[in-house]
């Protein structure tokens, strides 16, 4: 710019004005460009951030869903296996039940088949009772039809009892067991008959049903495949 003092003439004014206008325009465009560039940057950053955030959240929720589905499948499998096992156990239980019913039906026959054997049985049952009690006065209860057999058996039992234990016992026989009972005896002793022993055939069968279970299991269904320990 020519430096000279003094007011400018018209041409100079116009030229200076144009320069200033140009300058203003240029500055504005530069500023606008800056703003636009920054805007584009921010656009990318913001968009990427939003996408990243949300997709991470979506991934997490689907992962959870997947795990949930897997767990529920495992649960289903386990329930199915369990149900199958229970079905098998129920089948076995049913068979045991049938078996015990059959045994109970046949128990009645014991008393009817062989009189001599039944008499020996009664003797053994009474002796068992006496040796348990070790009491001097014993009451033997039997079916009305067994009274005479019982009285004979009691005499023999009482003798054997004295031989084995060195003690003596007086036995009273009473025929008050219900007559549709399968057989056997009940004994009572102690002041006022406070101790009782149920040695009836029914009772013995019931006890056996319980104590023979392991043996019955192996006899019926074979040894257990999974069991590792036997005492």
């Amino acid at each position: 710019m020519a430096s000279r003092s003094g007011p400018l003439n018209d041409d100079e004014v116009i030229s200076e004005t144009s320069k200033m206008v140009a300058f203003i325009k240029q500055e504005a465009q530069e500023k606008a460009r800056e703003i636009k560039v920054k805007a584009d940057e921010e656009f990318s950053v913001e968009k990427a951030k939003l996408v990243r955030q949300e997709t991470a959240a979506i991934d997490a929720s689907f992962e959870k869903k997947r795990k949930g589905a897997e767990t529920s499948i495992k649960i289903e499998h386990s329930t199915a296996t369990n149900r199958a096992r229970l079905r098998i156990l129920a089948a076995r239980e049913q068979h045991l039940h049938t078996l015990f019913e059959e045994a109970r039906k046949q128990v009645v026959l014991i008393a009817q088949q062989d009189e001599k054997k039944y008499g020996e049985l009664l003797e053994g049952l009474i002796l068992e009772g006496l040796l348990r009690f070790l009491e001097p006065d014993v009451l033997v209860t039997c079916r009305p039809s067994d009274v005479s057999a019982c009285e004979a058996a009691s005499k023999r039992a009482s003798e054997k009892y004295s031989q084995i234990s060195g003690r003596s016992a007086t036995i009273k026989v009473d025929g008050s067991l219900p007559k549709d009972n399968a057989g056997g005896i009940a004994l009572s002793a102690g002041s006022g008959g406070r101790i009782t022993i149920h040695n009836t055939l029914d009772e013995r069968l019931t006890l056996l049903e319980d104590s023979m279970l392991p043996e019955i299991r192996t006899d019926l269904f074979g040894k257990s495949e999974n069991r590792k320990f036997y005492t």
Binding site: D40, E46, H77, A91, R92, E102, I110
Partner: protein, 118 residues
């Protein structure tokens, strides 16, 4: 001097134009931010749809396998039950006999701690 006021007017006009340009740029910026949001939403929606389909396929596979497992378990169980029934029929008589034998088996014994009275 009218030329002076003319110049000044020209400058003022130039400033106004400049301000407009900058203002447009600012509007562009605002629009860009909105675009960021809407484009992101679209991408996210697409992603979600894709994941959804993936998951549905996964589920369909799995449910198929559960069915087949169930059937195989059932078949297995039927076999086992049939075997049990067979074994039962084979052995029931012997076991009932054993039970009844034990019912009449009596072992009258004195307790081992009791001594015989002489």
């Amino acid at each position: 001097m009218s030329s002076q006021s003319q110049s000044i007017q020209t400058l003022l006009d130039a400033e106004k134009e400049a301000a407009k340009v900058v203002q447009q740029a600012r509007q562009y910026r605002t629009q860009r931010l909105k675009d960021a949001r809407s484009e992101a939403d679209k991408e996210i929606a697409d992603y979600r749809k894709q994941k959804d389909e993936e998951f549905k396929r996964f589920e369909a596979e799995r449910s198929g396998s559960t069915q087949s497992v169930q059937t195989s378990i059932d078949k297995d169980t039927e076999l086992k039950i049939a075997a049990i029934n067979e074994a039962f029929e084979k052995n029931r008589e012997a076991v009932v006999k054993k039970l009844l034998e034990r019912v009449v088996e009596v072992h009258p014994e004195m307790h081992r701690n009791i001594t015989k009275v002489t």
